[in-house]
Each structure stands twice: as structure tokens, then as C-alpha cells.
Amino acid sequence: MKFLFQRIAFYIFTAWAALTINFFIPRLIPGDPVTSLMAKYQGQMSTEAIQSLYVLFGLDKHQSVWSQYVAYWGQIFHGDLGLSFTFFPTPVSEVLKQSLPWTIALVGITTFASFMIGTSLGVIAGWRRGSIMDGLLPVTTFLSSIPYFWLGLLAITLLAGPGSFFPSSGGYEPGLVPSWTGSFIGSAIQHSLLPALTILISSVSGWILTMRNMMVTVASEDYITVAHAKGLSERRVMVSYAARNALLPNVSGFALSLGFIVGGTLLVEIVFSYPGIGYNLFQAVGAKDYPLMQGVFLVITLSVLLANLLADVAYLLLDPRTRKEG
């Protein structure tokens, strides 16, 4: 349990650091991009909305940095992230609430699936070193060097198009209204196949490689020799003895690289115009919508922290040593 508490404390600290970075970025930059945006929408914004933007971006120069900081925290805890200019006059939190489920479904499921598939392939590649699987490694290296978004573009050109089964953009059929009906879910799944495939292909090879290398390292441990000597079946030794131990560093590696992966997968949403957080970020960048950008960064960071915590729990379950009290 001590391990878990330590990790939770660390994530809280990281969340604080991320929010503080988020607080300082707009304040360190010369010029006031937000003021000009607000001037554009003058008269259409309520005084409350203006006030919340003042607090978020430190436009009120008379306040000290400390009181700005305190006010900023108060506002974050109320879930007030300001108004989005792209989707004026929708609040940022409202925009994010709509797009977050899409991203979690697409990126979450595909990242997890890619980890599972890559790890299983890596187990085999590491165990049968010198077989055909080794010839696959350069191919997977090449695939992982391709930027996600470019693979997405390629997939659209080759597989999508008029009359194709795969739609080239969007998260669902334009005429449908998001709901829990069969036709909508079917359409959503159909739209997510191509983005999911793109993410899967370009992210799976990293897992294959790290797992292979861990398997190679573990395979020369004494307990593997003992397991062989006991006459256990090859499969049993591979799965229950070697893979189980090789998996541990891979799980903690998974937690640490989540930040990188999520960053890359957000781009796939951009290419496919998928209605998730990544596409929001793209729209925000295009319109210089700073409140939305900051909101997206916050949500992504917090989700990654949460995913990290889950990976830690998985580690706890997989490795009995961490559960030992004391």
C-alpha cells in the first residue's frame, strides 16, 4: 500500500506542477493575444466570462502574481476554464466534455490493444530469437518511424474515398444524433476503424521491441534454466516464467511513455477530423483560441496522470514484491 500512496502523492505533485506551468505560460509571453481576441467579441461576452478570462490569463496587471495564482486555483476547482473563442460562446469545459469520450474511446482502447498485441508478439520474438520474427524487426522499426498523422493520410488515400466502406473523416454519420442507439454506435465504430488501425500499426512496434529485449535478458536467468530442467513444457516456461517477469519493466515503461503516445495519437484525430480532444487542439491552434488550448492541455495531462495511476495499480497486481508490507 505504501507504494501506491507514494505514487498518488507523486501524481498530485505532478498535477500541481502541470497546472502551475499552465498558469505561467500565458504570463511569460510578451504581448496580450487574449486581449485582442476579447476586443473582437466585445459586447457579446458577459462580465462573468470576461472576469474568468482575466483570472486565467493574468490580464489584470494590478494584482500581484500570488493573488492571481490563488484566484486561478479557485477558478480551476470550480471547473471554469473560460470561454472558447472557436465555439463562441460555449465554455471550454462544455466543449471538452463533449469531445473527451471520443478520445478516451479511440485512444484509450487502441493504446491498450497495441500494448497487449505488441507485448505478446514481443514475447514470441524474444523467445524464438533467430527465427523469422527477427526479420520482422526492421519492418516494425520502419513502421514506428512513420509519423502517425502521415500514416493516417496514407490510409485515407488508399482505403477511404467515395464508395469505400471506411469513411475518411468525422466520428459518425453527419445526419445522426449522438445517442445510445444501434445505428449510431455502428456508425461510430465504422468511423473509428481506420484511425484505430493507424494508431495500432504505428505504435505496436515499440512494444514488440522492448518486450523482445526484455525476454532476451530474462531468458538467461537461472530460474528459466531451472524451469527447463524441471521438464516443464516450453510454453509454460515461456509464458509463466519468462514473460511474467519480463512484463514488469514493460508495464512501468508503458506508464512512462503514455505521455508520448497520447501526444502522437492526438494527431491522428486531426487527420481524420475525429471529434476528440486532439481535433479540438487543432481547431484552437488555428483560431488562436488560447482558453481552449489551455483546457485541452489540462485535460490531457490529467488523463495521462490517471492512466499512469492505473498502470501502477496493474504493476502492483503483477508484482507481488511491491505488495509486501514493511
Binding site: G130, T141, A219, G263, V285, M293
Partner: protein, 336 residues
């Protein structure tokens, strides 16, 4: 007697020394990677001069497929894509290498001092690098770069460098921790060497491989991030790089027009550069830990027709057809 030895030995000595120096390059993966990287560096330097056209110059050949005149075809304004790719190489390599240098310097500074100093300094420095590791770097880079007005190549490189040092710092810290109590470091300390001398002359040389692979890894990440920034239109579009080409291809609906030549060359160039850098990294990994090498032929036939698969760390087991089972005689105890 001595004369014969002298006559024999000199002929033999130069070969091993030479081999040792070129051992890293002798690794086929590393060699391939280095050659490709050198090629891209060359293009980065001379690309501006060997480009057949001005990359921004318009012409009347709108959206043309690749031909002898335009090797990679043309854009919606009749710009030559081959020239754009050649000229754009410089920006990509410049940002990649500069960001890699900045990040590596930071990771050495933070990682090695955290590992060597220990105590409170270690705790705070590793907390710092863990925070930077967990915070998703790309969204952070996007936000910082888009907040800075007119982010040029130098600015982008610095932003990427300052946000992507954490992984290297973590790895370096772990390795430094294991080195710092080794006998030779203790000996250096006992002879009164200063802390700085120990760090730079005793510890750093033993971290070379890790530093190198960290550098290469960061360059990969920096190139990807830079191209991403250009692709979503954050960095200035007046400077050509591969991401800018993809940006125009995307914004001008190259896909819908079937203009595959517009985005295929730039993407392939990214993938090839990335592969080359990864290959160098594999070369470094295998150089440090030879066990990771993909071993060639492993199946060995024995004289009596059995085949054995030789694997490092495994006791070879004869995979015979069916070993005659030892007859087991069961005593009928129950019956008695």
C-alpha cells in the same frame, strides 16, 4: 629467440586495434543508419544549391504528377515539390540536432548530478524529471510554440529541447547511481580527485553509450515534433521543411485531388530518417549488450540426425522424435 618473437608479433598487433576502433561501424544496423544520416546531413548542407527550382516560385504547371521535369510533381501553385523537400531538409536537421544537443546537455546535467550527489539534491532533481516525463510533451510544445509569436526554427528547437530531456536524465541517473560506488570511483575519491574531475573523467566516459543513445532518441522525437508543429501550422510557414509541405498538402485537399505525390515524398523522408536514427540506436544497444543481437543461424544438426536450436542462456535440448519412454512398472498396492 627474442628476434623470432619480435618478427612474429608486430604483424599481428595492428589488426585487433584497428578492428576495435571500427567495431561499432561494423555492426550492419549502425552502419546503415550512419550512412543514411550522413546522406541527410549532406542534403541539409547542399540542398539549397542543388535544388532545381526555387521552392516558393510559382509556375503554370499546377498539380502535376511526377515527371522528368518535376521529379516529385508540383503543388497547387506550381511549386516544385522535389526542391521543397531538398530545401526543407536543412530546417529538419537543424532543429532535430539542435534540440537533441540542448536536451542531451540538460539530461547530463540533471541526470548525472542527481545520481552522483544523492540525498536531497537527487530527490528534487528526479522529482523534476519525473514530472517532465509524465506531462505529455507534445501538447505542451504545441501550446508553448503557439503562444510565442512567430516561432522560428531556433525557437522551436529550444522549446523542444527544454521539454524533452527527462527520459535521458532518468536513464543517466540510474546508471550513475550504479557507477558511483564502484571501486575505481572510490579509488579516485581516495586519491583526492575533485568531484568535478570524478564526474567528467571517471564517470562520464562510462556513460558515453547511454548519452549517445539518448541523443539519438531525442533527435527522433525532435524531428517528429517539429514536423508536427509545421503540419498543424504553428511554426512559420515561410521557412520550408517537410512538415510545411504536408501542411500545404493537407490544407489544399491534396488527398481529395488524388495528388499522392504531394505528401508521399516528405512522409517517406521522415520515415527513412527516423528509421536510420533508430538503427543507430539499435547499433548502440547491441554494442553495449551483445546479447540483443539477432543471432543468425541457430539450428544445428548433430551427427545422429537430431536438430538442436542454440540460444544464448538456454541449455540446448535435443528435439528427438520420441525418446523411448522408460517402462514404468506399477506395483499393484491397492489390490493387496
Amino acid at each position: 629467440m627474442t628476434a623470432t618473437i619480435a618478427a612474429v608479433t608486430p604483424a599481428a598487433t595492428p589488426t585487433p586495434a584497428k578492428r576495435r576502433r571500427l567495431r561499432f561501424v561494423a555492426n550492419p544496423k549502425a552502419a546503415t543508419g550512419l550512412v543514411v544520416l550522413a546522406f541527410f546531413c549532406l542534403i541539409a548542407i547542399i540542398g539549397k544549391w542543388i535544388a532545381p527550382y526555387d521552392p516558393s516560385a510559382r509556375s503554370s504547371d499546377l498539380i502535376q504528377a511526377p515527371s522528368a521535369k518535376h521529379w516529385f510533381g508540383t503543388t497547387h501553385l506550381g511549386q516544385d515539390i522535389f526542391s521543397q523537400v531538398l530545401v526543407g531538409t536543412r530546417g529538419v536537421m537543424y532543429v532535430g540536432l539542435l534540440a537533441g544537443l540542448v536536451a542531451t546537455a540538460l539530461s547530463i546535467l540533471i541526470g548525472v548530478s542527481a545520481g552522483f550527489l544523492g540525498g536531497a539534491a537527487d530527490d528534487s532533481l528526479s522529482a523534476l524529471s519525473n514530472v517532465f516525463l509524465v506531462i505529455p510533451a507534445l501538447p505542451l510544445i504545441i501550446i508553448v510554440a503557439s503562444t510565442i509569436p512567430s516561432a522560428g526554427d531556433l525557437m522551436v528547437a529550444l522549446v523542444i529541447g527544454f521539454t524533452s530531456w527527462a527520459w535521458g536524465a532518468r536513464v543517466l541517473r540510474a546508471q550513475t547511481l550504479s557507477l558511483r560506488r564502484r571501486d575505481y570511483v572510490e579509488a579516485a575519491r581516495a586519491t583526492g580527485e575533485s568531484t568535478w574531475r570524478i564526474i567528467t573523467f571517471e564517470i562520464m566516459p562510462n556513460l558515453t553509450a547511454i548519452i549517445a543513445s539518448g541523443f539519438v532518441g531525442t533527435v527522433i522525437f525532435a524531428v517528429m515534433s517539429e514536423i508536427t508543429l509545421a503540419f498543424i501550422g504553428i511554426s512559420t510557414i515561410s521557412e520550408w521543411n517537410w512538415g510545411t509541405i504536408l501542411f500545404w498538402a493537407q490544407s489544399q485537399q491534396a488527398l481529395a485531388q488524388g495528388a499522392w505525390w504531394w505528401f508521399v515524398p516528405a512522409g517517406l523522408a521522415i520515415a527513412i530518417l527516423g528509421t536510420a536514427l533508430s538503427l543507430i540506436n539499435f547499433g548502440i544497444d547491441e554494442f553495449v549488450s551483445p546479447r540483443l543481437r539477432s543471432s543468425g543461424h541457430t539450428r544445428v544438426k548433430t551427427n545422429d540426425g537430431h536438430s538442436v536450436r542454440m540460444r544464448v542462456g538456454f541449455t540446448p535440448v535435443l528435439s528427438s522424435k520420441q525418446a523411448p519412454a522408460t517402462p514404468v512398472v506399477r506395483r499393484k498396492e491397492n489390490a493387496a
